[in-house]
């Protein structure tokens, strides 16, 4: 299964707005993507990870393009957007 390690880029970590933006994007993908094992389509489950800016998380899923799309979002500073 495709997976990749990525460093969290958002200054507030995977919280509030970044978690919501990632979950929205993951919900629109055709396949399931997980971040550290939790469903990336759930902003609440992303928040439970407590991942801070600079932490490394594991993005995984069946589809490489979907994994890459979510990994790219995790790496961005979504709070600055």
């Amino acid at each position: 299964m495709p997976s990749t390690s990525v460093t969290v880029g958002s200054s507030v970590g995977l919280h509030a707005r970044p978690a919501a933006l990632i979950a929205e994007a993951a919900g629109g993908l055709g396949s399931t993507v997980t971040i550290n094992g939790v469903d990336a389509a759930s902003s609440l489950m992303i928040m439970t990870l407590g991942a801070k800016c600079g932490d490394t998380v594991e993005v995984a899923g069946e589809d490489q393009a979907a994994v890459d799309a979510i990994a790219a979002l995790v790496a961005q500073d979504l709070d600055a957007a």
Partner: protein, 320 residues
Amino acid sequence: MAATGALVTVTANPSIDRTLVLPGPLDRGGVHRVERTTSQAGGKGINISRAAVAAGVPTLAVLPAHDDDPFVEEVARAGIPCHPCRPAGSIRVNLTITEPDGTTTKLNSPGALSDDAHMAELADAVVREARDASWVVLAGSLPPGAADSFYADLLPRLHGLAPVAVDTSDAPLTALVAGLDHCAPQLMKPNAEELASITGGDAEALEADPALVARHAAELVDRGVAHVLVTLGAAGAVLVDRTGAWHASPAPTTVLSTVGAGDSSLFGFLLGEIRGAHRADRLALAVAYGSAAAALPGTGIPGPADVDVSRVEVRALATT
């Protein structure tokens, strides 16, 4: 509140839960060859610390035990930081004997007799650790010899240090409720039976009627408890605070063992609070965690990857 601090759990009456798996039926008076044995450090506080470790939440388990007790070794092996206090004796062993047809025989030990000095040392250790805590969780029964008011007496000493969650039953719960007007915890997590023992009514009727549960739980909120989380088994859970009441229903779950489900629910709520989730979302996490624990065998404690919050339905309840 220091959200970065440790989730401090207190296990006043810990046990080693040992399971002996027999290859045939148990024969009283006979000699048996045991097929397999498993052993796990048990107690509600330890279960909650276990869930915290799985979720990457800093935790510390405070409990009475000798430094070299097998219990402390098990806890260390599970990656749980531990603060052992002077115990009254060795940690009790609870034996479960299982037979191939599913028959289960349990032999529970009472534990060593504690005196006031032991309990005072435990209380002092909890107060010390509470200074750097995100929450303090007082969960489970008290050892033989302890005053029923141990939790009730500890609450005022923790006031202003850290928010406190309490999950207990019987006499320690009664003592806590008697003292609520003096000092109330931030969270109580009764089940239907425990709620009925506090506010009256019938546990079965409560389990069937979330709105009735909310009205009963609101009595505790009126007496100063900030959040009341009532777990209702297969019917989910109800959360009541000053702003409202909610009921969350779990997705249909194939139940393997309900042991540890209530502890997992309590942790799910605290995880949501620690991570800054909204009230209804904390309740959804509590129910999803409870379901995930029920779907695991034995005292299985879930991690976030086992939890499916998307299948939990939350609705607001009228509180008038």
